[in-house]
Amino acid sequence: MNKRKVIEKVMLGVISSLAIVSAIPIFAIVINIYSEGARHLTLDFLIDLPPPPVGGRDGGIGPALIGSLILTSLAVAIGGSIGFFTGLYLSEFSHTRLAQYTQMSLQIMVEFPTIIIGLFAYMILVAPLKRFNALAGAFALSIVIIPYIALNVREAYRSIPYTLKEAAFSLGFSAPTAYLRILLSTARRGVLTALLIGMAKAAGETAPLLLTILGTTFTYFGGLDQPINAIPLLIYNFALSPYERWHQVAWGAAAVLLTIILTIFIISRLVVREVKI
């Protein structure tokens, strides 16, 4: 048989195997997390305080869930607004030096170690207040998500056909009206996707929270200037603890987090699908 053909078959086989190998982990992760954690997905689990390390009742992730909700909402509100306007600026004023530098910086920030952002938030908001607090966590998260949102919003606006932009301006609308009322509805799917991506990131990031919110386990919400917990942080702390019961809670929390991320992911794909029509 032709030697080249043999090599071809072998190499294609190797490539396919390696590709499949690289796809295996995600399935393994999803299966493992749900098989270990799904049994905890009860309403009680979502609301209760965490259990003591040994003995006592089963407990849950209530404070962490509330904390995550608060932190994520704040982060998306802050990071979303800044990110949106930045993205809009990058798209419509792309010819300016400022836009070019900003874009490059944002592209770098996307890959940046988030622990450094947490450190920055510590310097600014924790050290002066001499206390870990929720605001610092939300602040760190919003910095983390701004690049994602800005770059995606930029893409959304860039994909608006130029002729629609001409139409809007030819009707005599001022720039804010044109960009924010008319063109925004045209770009709304892309913008929505951007916000969803930001939300998923804010819900899942841990490193920015490590140095800022402390991760208290026993209060639901004490105020923005007080420590708070969040689901990813709880998973981290409990998984590394020496208590088997807390490991169980970590699996349960991971199942909750995975469900949230999967949901956001699926929604964002559906949103994008409609654009193709």
């Binding site: 004023f93 001409e166 139409a167 030819s170 009707l171 609308f173 008319i182 509805s185």
Partner: protein, 253 residues
Amino acid sequence: MNWAIEVNDLNVWYGDKHVIKNVSFKVPKNIIFAVMGPSGCGKSTLLRAMNRLLELNPYARVEGQVKINGIDVYSDNVDITWVRRQFGMVFQTPNPFPHLSIYENVALGPKLNGLVKDRSELDELVKHSLQQAYLWDEVKNDLKKPASMLSGGQQQRLCIARALALKPKIILMDEPTANLDPVASSKIEELMLELKEEYTIIIVTHNPQQAARISDYVAFLYMGELIEIGETSMVFTRPRHVLTEKYVVGRMG
């Protein structure tokens, strides 16, 4: 003589490229004025220089005057959004806002610019504009449907209605029938002949036959320069410039 628009010594650059060179002309009211020329001669640029839409392009630079009713649209104390509202513009590819309904497409301009006092006035205005654009009868029962559901020719008439709703004085048309089939095109041409009673129409076209068909005055633009201008019948039967003759006869791109 009352001119609809006067263009004096207009020059336009894209970066270093000089694309409109010392163009001057005057357009009388209530006529169809055609600007024709081969591709790339600057016709679309000229049109956009009139309603200052050119400024959406950060690399464009304009010098000269464009006057409507004696006011130079480029003078410092003139509000650019006001300028744009004096013109209605229709583009080569019909571009209604796809996510808005037929009604909303027409209503958007007057509503956001505060031209009407209440809903019933707005309804009247929308109806009147759609009637003027020869579209009312076809869509009067479907006003809430999205604009994207109309055919190409209908979409273009919708865009005309949208432009008319702002009650402009001058209508600018950038090759409005270039992407339409012959039936839809002739409908639009018929419409233009009607509209000139009330408006002044400036149309850019790459098709000299179209210019000959519908325009009263015509200008021939070549490489950014105004080669010839005059009454359509004269320019087509007795062109003064050899380039014009070549173009009219069809020996030019």
